[in-house]
Amino acid sequence: MAGRAVTGTEHGDRAGFLAPARELLSGGIHANPVHAPPPTPLPSDPVPEARYLNLDPGDLVTTFADAVAHAEGVCHVVEGDVPDRLLDRIVNELDGRSDTSVVVSAEPEARAVGDRLAARGLRVAPATPATAAAAGLGVTSATAAIAATGSIVLDSRRAGGRVGSLLPSVHLCVVPVNRLFATPAEVLRRLGSGADALPPSLVVVTGPSRTGDIEQLLTLGAHGPTALHVVLVTDGQRGS
């Protein structure tokens, strides 16, 4: 990757910056005498994983669908492929809007949906900042999904960018069920392995964009999509 070949530059005095901290830490770290901290684990000790009471390990699909809804998203569990009736519904919903064009990201699953929407007469273009800013719908695919939190994980390297899931008013994401994991730990704790494991942008999306900044009332569609549709494509055997 060209972006990776060039090393960045360093400014300021690293050793001088770190010297006070090194000196002050040389005597070890203070333990609060009133509320003593728990014993600091050895570096080799694992950090405990959160356990989720809303997680049914035997039925990740249902847990995921419930969690997407809990985060104000809409989850469609479908068998085999994205069904025609769902695409027809999307076309109908876009009909009434001023921004009826569609952008798709670079994943094959997203492009396949884009082709089928184009066949229905919609204007479909690859997602760029310009096309996405004017689009009503962005179609993407996820590199992973997380049942316990109802999250989808978007990879800028696979998608060819970020704006397809960010600028359009509605975001539709297609995820094959074999990418469904139980917990955030199963996804996030693997990110350190492999030198080039992380793309420039990896984002864990949990529901549509929202704000509570006006009277702490939930308002959807602050800067990103107002609605999130997640299509989980199963192989027909629920609970896998």
């Binding site: 960045g8 009133v34 996030l188 990103g224």
Partner: protein, 467 residues
């Protein structure tokens, strides 16, 4: 530490008195913190043994702080290897001048910011504006207070002191919203969305803070609900991160545990809408993302806390839970504290970071020492112990008159008979209590308070007589 322009001509006492007398403010604050606290309880209730996780998070933060220099080196090396630039900034001034330099070098006039308490702390916007850049805060709450020329009143909900009508009027007065704009939150948010969308698309430079910096991969984790963190890091060609040096996690296992606690402690969500992980610059074949990344690692007084009892304050993950449960914050809101960081975490952090500014020491008094803050803290910072210690530090510098007064009080109350005499005296207060709020001496104290009326008979007398 700057960003305390509300202090001019006021004291903690006068600001508190003003806040307590402002019924609208108290209604707004109480409504907000009650919602946050309820959601937090529900969110943490979905985790098995949340207290065990909090305890583990405290331990991992202790470990991070003990290893901080090594972790910072590892993090910086990873950022550099992925093409990012690193600036070591011992002081706020170093950080400001580096960022101003980046902005100048690009001839940037339009800067979009995602909410960052570290940039508030170093008052970065003022420096950028002095350099000729137009800086727009893109978090809705931050934008509101920027338009109103205020500082944040809550670390995750900066504008919670304002209700919908006040926000509507602000939009009309400052950014030309039509007076006919509705006051429903959806209408106000829709207006802001349209205005800020233009800012994102036109910005030359994006500036963010960081919730977590992960040493093993050189990643910046930015958590937002609105999506402004993603927009600020996706659209402008240059991304500048201002990172408090303590915000490190060694690896993704640590980061994952902190993320499991952060959103639930802040808003009760399982995860915030966008947990954005930025690692290096735009890749080949990508149509967006910054092509230039700068990470400014800020000390500004932090390393001095590493030795001694106050180091645990550096474990703070800025969730705001301690504000929401604090009986003092609930009554006065964030502005009465007078500094950028309010509530219990602010009352500890501000005096520690505010180099030689004596006004900050009084913040340790803005607490009841009830301990609700530590009970709510996802990393179990012993806030009440640190507040008490700061009071001790302040008392050591108290004047002779104050010392004499406390010595007299201590002498009186450490003797049972003398203590009894004072409580008998207090029952006489029953007669004057109803008047206290109206007497010249008690008027300002009584405003905003219900003056308690002492009992006619003391407890010890009732006890002696068999209740």
């Amino acid at each position: 530490m700057s960003g305390h322009h509300q202090l001019a001509g006021t004291t903690l006492r006068s600001r508190t008195a003003d806040a307590v007398a402002n019924d609208r403010l108290r209604t707004n604050v109480a409504r907000a913190v009650d919602r946050f606290a309820t959601h937090r309880r529900e969110g943490l209730g979905e985790l098995e043994d949340p207290d065990g996780l909090r305890s583990a998070a405290r331990a991992l933060k202790q470990q991070v702080l003990a290893d901080l220099p090594g972790l910072l080196e590892r993090f910086a090396d990873q950022v550099l290897a992925r093409g990012g630039h690193v600036c070591w900034a011992p002081t706020a001034d170093d950080a400001r001048s580096y960022v101003v330099d980046v902005v100048r070098r690009h001839g940037a006039t339009r800067v979009a910011k995602s909410k960052s308490m570290a940039t508030e702390e170093i008052d970065l916007n003022t420096a950028l504006e002095a350099a000729g850049a137009q800086v727009v805060e893109t978090d809705l709450g931050e934008w509101i207070i920027q338009l109103a020329d205020e500082t944040p009143s809550h670390i995750i909900a900066p504008a919670l002191h304002r209700d919908r009508h006040q926000i509507h009027d602000l939009f009309v007065d400052t950014v030309g919203a039509e007076p006919a704009l509705g006051t429903e939150p959806t209408e106000l948010v829709g207006f802001a969305r349209g205005r800020l969308r233009e800012v994102f698309l036109a910005a030359d430079v994006g500036i963010t803070g960081a919730n977590i910096a992960v040493a093993e991969t050189g990643s910046i984790v930015l958590v937002t609900n609105e999506g402004n963190g993603r927009l600020v890091t996706s659209l402008p060609p240059v991304h500048v991160v201002v990172l408090g040096m303590e915000r490190l996690a060694a690896d993704w296992a640590q980061a994952e545990l902190l993320l499991a606690l952060l959103a639930r402690s802040a808003t009760g969500q399982r995860l915030s809408s966008y947990t954005n992980i930025v690692t290096g610059t735009r890749g080949d074949g990508e149509v967006d993302g910054a092509t230039e990344l700068h990470v400014v690692i800020l000390d500004n007084g932090r390393s001095q806390l590493l030795a001694g009892e106050y180091h645990e304050m550096l474990a703070c993950i800025r969730c705001g839970a301690c504000l929401n449960v604090c009986p003092v914050y609930r009554q006065v809101g964030g502005h009465a504290y007078g500094w950028v960081y309010p509530g219990p975490m602010g009352s500890v952090l501000t005096p520690l970071l505010a180099h030689g500014q004596p006004e900050a020491a009084e913040l340790a008094g803005a607490s009841t020492l009830c301990g609700a803050c530590m009970d709510a803290c996802p990393v179990q910072i012993p806030l009440q112990d640190l507040l008490l210690s700061l009071r001790r530090r302040k008392a050591e510098g108290a004047g002779a008159a104050e010392r004499a007064a406390w010595a007299a009080w201590a002498a009186a109350w450490s003797d049972a008979r003398r203590y009894g005499a004072t409580t008998r005296l207090a029952t006489w207060g029953r007669i004057v209590a109803p008047l206290a709020g109206r007497l010249p001496v008690g008027r300002s104290w009584g405003a905003g308070r219900t003056v308690p009326r002492p009992a006619a008979r003391r407890f010890r007398d009732r006890w002696r007589e068999g209740m």
